[in-house]
Structures are given as structure tokens and as C-alpha cells.
């Protein structure tokens, strides 16, 4: 029996695209919303570090440290502290290869905070689901396409899209779930469409390399070279082994001031110094993302490190590449400061609500059908509990593990990850043995307790409270109250064990 009418076909497509990839999409949305505050969560997860002084002072401290220990290195990298992540990191050589050292700008001594996966865990999980990187990117891309399919087919089958624009009728079972799903879907539709499409755009030539294959033989770097603006100054060629005469490097604090004059105070991400202590020293001043929507990775001001002369300023990106970078920037949400971050965060949670209510709606509808296959229904119900409530619990469990694991533990970040997946696995096991309603109740209550306890944990194990850490604590408190309310609203009658979840009402 194939659905006959157009609406029925679209309804079928909406249901299956939404259900089968809904679990993955929910995980992507929840961790993506958390990743909006990745640096803040990372800061919370290293309570040993305290807020240092301004950028110029930090650059001076970094220069003293590098000069004393790595005067003959080929290059220096300095990661300047910022509003969101007040860390001063220095590297002699390549930061990805040699690892960054955190130093205290006041004393100039190295800091050794606890090892942690940090907020970066949520960011990486958001686009790889912790699968091997390439596989993860493709699975998330598939989920992104499924979301677009579900959104468009959802608009098509929504008959009263304007009439019920503001409609929500609580405590009416299926009606309420449909209202909640529609309201969160329709009101946030611009955000949903934007975030799904721009998510695909970030990895555009990975997902669809056709044109790249046809014109560049699949060489991504060749495309970027072709799209890059022409260089303004050419560096004098120098053979290997030759190096310029020694010459003193100007104070780096000066370059910070000049960089801030160009990009605005606090808008510098870091400095790179090539050939420090030589006549051909170059100081590269890199801006923080976020002075524009465009994702400006790799943009920089280049100065002569000895004379201080400005050699190179960034050139505007060509229109096509600019479009791609603006779209990617819309997804990364690094612009517009904290108010914009909060808007993205709440829109992301709205997306979570849309996906979760859709998943629940499916089971509520199926339960009412006499011929519904019981095993399938039960499987979906159990997966819903563990992937919606269970993932929330696992995310907070990661923060608890960060504070409870011994600080000097070997491979500490790995153990934090184990705690996250262990907690999630326990939720799947719990959902497998409990009836769905009590499972919802208990997992939501568990997540609520962990959230509500997080500020206490921070007080007991943390360092100085500052804006970032207080924000994480208060956010956890608010989310904990919300989850607790949700757990409490699940009817107590439904929490009693029943032979079959057949007559259970919906969660109001």
C-alpha cells in the first residue's frame, strides 16, 4: 500500500527522514548548542587558570619567556588571551606539532592546568559524532540533508501553517505534541533552514566534489590557491641553510597595539613570529574570528619585525569564496558577541525541542493505532528515552567527571570521554529494562539532579569564580530546573509499572 496523494507521500517522507535521522540530529543539535559556549565550558573545565591581564602585557610576557628559552627557534606562536578564553599560550615551532605551553602573564611562569577534553569535545562531537573523522563528517552531512528534506516536506504537509502559528494546547496528548512540534518548527524555520544548509556548506567540496574534480582534479588546495587574493609583497628567496644576520626584534606589545588599532581592542587571536632575532623577522598579527560574519581563517597583518614596517594587509575575499565563508560563518556563530551567542544557543535548544517532540509524537501516534507492531514501537520508545534524555545526562556527566577524576590521572581526557559514553551507555541499558514512562522520568530527573548539583560541585572543587564559570553554573542551574519540571510533569500514574505501555497518556 503506497501512499497515493502528494500530501501522503510527503508525510511518509517527513516521518521516515525525521525518525531515522532524528536521533542523530538531536545529538548534533544538543552538542552544537553546547559548542556555542565551547571556550566557556573549556574554561570551566580548567579551574586552575585565572584571568590574566590585557593583550599588550600578555604579549610582552610571552616575548620575555620565548626570548629566554627559544631565542634560536625558527618561529614563535603566541595565542593571546581573549574575552571568552583568557589563556596565554606560547609555542616555539608549530603549535600543532610541538604543543602549546600556557604561561602566567603576571609571573611569566608556565602554568600546568589539568588535562581535559574541554568544551572542544562538544564541538568535535557536533560534526563527527565521535566517529572516525571522515566517516563522522559524512554521517552528519547525511543527517543535515535529511533535516532539509524533513523541513521542506514538513512545510508541505502542515495544513494550517498560518492559522496555527501561535497555537499551543497543552495537556491534550497527541494534539499537544503536534502543537509543540509545529510551533518549534515553524517559528524557528529561518534558523532551521539556515543552520542545516550552512552546515553542509562548511564542508561543501568534501560533500560534493564534482566541480572540484572536473576543474582541479580533486585538489582542494589548488582551488584555495586559485581563490586567494594575489600577494602584495614577495619575500626574498633564500636557500636552505642560509639565514639573515642577527637583528633585535621590536617589542611585540607594539605590534599588538597596532593590530588592535586595525581590528579593535581585544580582537586579536594571536601573533606569529617568523625568524625571531634575525634581520628578516616577520610578525604576523592574526585577528579573532567575529569582527565580521565571514569566517576569516588565515587572514592576518604582516609586519617587518625589525623595522616595524607594515608589509601586508588583508585583501577582500572574492565574491564567490566570500559567499561560502559568510555562509560558514553564519553556522559557526563567532560574530556579534555574547548576545548573538545566546540567540544561537536558544535557537539550537529550540531545534532540540522540535526534534525531540517529533520523535515523541511518532510514538504517541503509533501507540493509538490498533495494528501497530509492538516490538517496533517499544524499540523507538526506548531509543527516544536514551537518545534524548540520556544524551543530556551524559553531557552533564562529562562536566562532573572533569572535576571528580584525579587531577594527575594519566590520559585524563580519555577518561573523561569514557565517563561521557559510559553514562550514555548506562542510559541505553536503563531504557532497555524500564518501561518508557518511568525511564523518561528517571533519566530526566537524573540529568536535572546532575545539573542542579553542578554549581555546588564547582564551589567544592573549583578555583575563583569569574564571569565565565558563573555563567556555566547559572546556566546549569536553569537547565536543571527545567529538566526537573519536565520530569515532575510526567504523570505519576504512568510511572507505575504496567504490562504494556498501551493505555498510557502522552507526557503533557
Amino acid at each position: 500500500m503506497k501512499p497515493r496523494t502528494f500530501t501522503q507521500s510527503m508525510s511518509w517522507l517527513h516521518t521516515w527522514a525525521g525518525l531515522l535521522l532524528g536521533w542523530a540530529l538531536y545529538a548534533i543539535f544538543l552538542t552544537g548548542s553546547l559548542a556555542v559556549f565551547d571556550k566557556e565550558l573549556g574554561w570551566w573545565m580548567q579551574p586552575e587558570i585565572e584571568r590574566p591581564a590585557g593583550d599588550a602585557a600578555a604579549a610582552a610576557a610571552a616575548q620575555r619567556w620565548l626570548q629566554a628559552r627559544h631565542a634560536d627557534a625558527g618561529s614563535w606562536n603566541i595565542e593571546l588571551p581573549g574575552e571568552r578564553a583568557p589563556l596565554l599560550g606560547v609555542t616555539a615551532g608549530d603549535p600543532r606539532r610541538d604543543g602549546s605551553t600556557l604561561i602566567d602573564p603576571a609571573s611569566g611562569e608556565p602554568l600546568e592546568p589539568r588535562k581535559t577534553v574541554g568544551g572542544n569535545f562538544f564541538f568535535r562531537f557536533h560534526f563527527t559524532l565521535h566517529l572516525p573523522r571522515n566517516l563522522g563528517i559524512w554521517v552528519v552531512g547525511l543527517a543535515g540533508m535529511a533535516m532539509l528534506v524533513a523541513l521542506v516536506s514538513g512545510i508541505v504537509i502542515h495544513k494550517k501553517i498560518f492559522k496555527e502559528f501561535f497555537t499551543f494546547r497543552p495537556a491534550k496528548g497527541q494534539r499537544s505534541w503536534l502543537d509543540a512540534h509545529n510551533a518549534s518548527g515553524v517559528l524557528l524555520l529561518p534558523f532551521h533552514l539556515m543552520i542545516a544548509y550552512t552546515g553542509l556548506v562548511i564542508f561543501f567540496v568534501i560533500y560534493m566534489p564534482a566541480a572540484l574534480d572536473a576543474f582541479y582534479g580533486g585538489d582542494r588546495d589548488a582551488l584555495l590557491r586559485d581563490g586567494a587574493p594575489p600577494m602584495q609583497a614577495s619575500e626574498p628567496a633564500r636557500g636552505p641553510g642560509q639565514s639573515a644576520a642577527p637583528a633585535p626584534l621590536l617589542p611585540l606589545a607594539d605590534f599588538v597595539r597596532r593590530g588592535e588599532a586595525h581590528y579593535g581592542p581585544g580582537m586579536l587571536a594571536g601573533l606569529r613570529v617568523n625568524h625571531p632575532g634575525r634581520a628578516d623577522a616577520r610578525v604576523i598579527v592574526q585577528p579573532r574570528l567575529g569582527s565580521r560574519i565571514e569566517l576569516t581563517k588565515g587572514e592576518a597583518l604582516v609586519f617587518d619585525g625589525v623595522s616595524g614596517q607594515l608589509l601586508q594587509t588583508p585583501v577582500p575575499t572574492r565574491t564567490s569564496l566570500l559567499s561560502q565563508r559568510v555562509l560558514a560563518g553564519l553556522h559557526f556563530a563567532q560574530f556579534g558577541g555574547y548576545p548573538m551567542r545566546w540567540l544561537y544557543f536558544f535557537c539550537g535548544l529550540g531545534g532540540c525541542a522540535m526534534i525531540a517532540s517529533g520523535l515523541v509524537l511518532y510514538t504517541v501516534k503509533l501507540r493509538k493505532q490498533a495494528k501497530a507492531p509492538r516490538r517496533w514501537l517499544e524499540l523507538v520508545e526506548r531509543l527516544n528515552v536514551a537518545s534524548v534524555a540520556g544524551l543530556g545526562l551524559a553531557c552533564v556527566a562529562l562536566l562532573w567527571a572533569n572535576r571528580l577524576l584525579p587531577v594527575e590521572l594519566d590520559r585524563r581526557g580519555g577518561w573523561e570521554t569514557v565517563a561521557f559514553f559510559g553514562a550514555w551507555l548506562l542510559c541505553f541499558l536503563h531504557a532497555a529494562v524500564r518501561a518508557p514512562m518511568p525511564a523518561w522520568r528517571e533519566q530526566l530527573a537524573g540529568a536535572a539532579l546532575l545539573c542542579l548539583g553542578l554549581p555546588l560541585l564547582d564551589l567544592a572543587t573549583g578555583g575563583a569564580l569569574d564571569g565565565q564559570r558563573l555563567g556555566v553554573d547559572l546556566g546549569a542551574l536553569a537547565i536543571g530546573l527545567l529538566l526537573g519540571w519536565a520530569a515532575w510533569r510526567i504523570p505519576a500514574a504512568a510511572a507505575q509499572p504496567r504490562p504494556r505501555p498501551r493505555c498510557a497518556g502522552a507526557i503533557p
Binding site: S11, L148, V149, A210, L223, D226
Partner: protein
């Protein structure tokens, strides 16, 4: 949202249609993107970027169309005819290079 289809539905038709929409649709989109980049009157770097940005919209439209009640036979036919044609349009210089 009038009715839920359950996994007890005829397997073959649904599986074939899904495979054609997702995999066949991807192949068609791949060919379409290369062809579009070839015909866009832009420098090649711009043509590649613009065509790739539009490819997702094309793929989305094709998947929706695949499930919008089109007969399975016609769906297969469209993919079988359009994919090689567009691929030829998109890749003919590469093909010439390969051949001689």
C-alpha cells in the same frame, strides 16, 4: 501527517525508491554540479564554488521529487539518462585529456 507507514509495507518498492533517491540522486547531483560549473560564465574558481553551493539545493529538490509520487520506472529512467548526459557535459575536457 495523516498516516504512518510501517515497516510492514512492501519492502522492495520502498527500498528501491530510497536507494534511487539517495544514491542515484547523489550521482545525478554530482554530474549536474560538474556540468553547471562548466556552463556558468564565470572564472573557474568562482564557477566551482557557485555550482557546489547550489548542488545541495538541487539534491534536496531531487530527493523530494523522488518521493512525490513519481512512478519508480520513470525515476530510474531519469537518473539513467540524465546522469551520463550531464557527466559528459561536465567532464568532457577531462575525458579528452584522458583519451588523447
Amino acid at each position: 501527517m495523516t498516516r504512518l507507514s510501517l515497516p510492514s509495507r512492501p519492502w522492495l518498492e520502498i527500498s528501491l525508491r530510497t536507494a534511487l533517491a539517495i544514491l542515484g540522486g547523489y550521482a545525478l547531483t554530482y554530474a549536474f554540479t560538474a556540468a553547471l560549473a562548466r556552463v556558468l560564465p564565470l572564472p573557474r574558481v568562482d564557477a566551482v564554488i557557485v555550482a557546489t553551493l547550489l548542488s545541495f539545493v538541487f539534491y534536496l529538490g531531487f530527493i523530494l521529487w523522488s518521493f512525490a509520487g513519481v512512478p519508480l520506472r520513470r525515476l530510474a529512467l531519469v537518473i539513467a539518462v540524465a546522469t551520463p548526459t550531464l557527466a559528459l557535459l561536465g567532464f568532457w575536457p577531462n575525458l579528452l585529456e584522458r583519451l588523447g
